[in-house]
Amino acid sequence: MAEEKKNTLDPDHWIERYADYLYSYAYARLRKEEVAQDLVQDTFFSALRAKDTFLQNASEKTWLVSILKRKIIDHYRKKSTQNELNILDKPVEGEDGSIGYFFENQASTPGHWTSSASPNQWGRTFETSVESDEFNDILRTCLTKLPEKTAAAFVMKNMEGLETEEICKELNITQSNYWVMMHRAKLALRDCMEKNWFNK
């Protein structure tokens, strides 16, 4: 049996070794640069305070990421209790506007796609897109255009891989609220990605 490798913590080198990595992790999942920076700094501080709880069979990096991950979810949760009364968050801003931007509401064709927002066949495929840095940058940019809570639900589902039940508990919403938020998220992201990448 191989000898178990013991890992130790080395806070003197944390910044040079992990700051950019942790920042990338946070930045991809959050809307604001400053928030990502603050959470990375908080992570290092919390890690320092909790260094006795570090298990030596874990890697330093994995341990720091797990602390950051919790901080990101706490950040979302705080944000979501701040606008508790506003269950569906603010409508998506700009041309991606409220639901009326996507669907007709006149009596003749209620609930039909509007001409400006109806889906088109995409000119590029997933396979020809995924390895492009530009594509991945646009994914992040489109995410930043969502309302905070909507973005939080979307990230928790698709980037953190949390179950719907967990997300609803963290954000203190019902599953119906969640499905409505995800509908809005997808309408906005689909529109944004179509215009800025797939059919650009």
Partner: protein
């Protein structure tokens, strides 16, 4: 929504359950309603397909960041500031 409206959905209603469908939580009537709508509505069919592509794309972005393939650089002055703050904390 009444049963008749569940069986005969418009585009707003059909797309509204995209994530409920993904979670496997549609009622039998909703399942039929969505299926029927997607048979004749090319726009909503595209929406559902593209929605799945978005899910995969964001999942993939997260993996790229985890693997270090996609990285963003922290502002050097902010990094320096962080380093000093951490040093100070360690001396406490």
């Amino acid at each position: 929504m009444g049963l008749k409206n569940t069986l005969f959905m418009n585009c707003a209603e059909a797309t509204a359950v995209v994530e409920k469908k993904r979670d496997g939580k549609l009622s039998l009537a909703e399942r039929f309603g969505v299926w029927l709508h997607l048979v004749y509505c090319k726009l909503c069919k595209a929406f559902f397909d593209q929605s799945a592509i978005l899910d995969r794309s964001y999942h993939h972005l997260a993996e790229r960041v985890n693997d270090g393939q996609q990285s963003y650089t922290l502002d050097p002055s902010r990094k320096e500031q962080m380093k000093n703050a951490l040093q100070e904390e360690m001396q406490k």
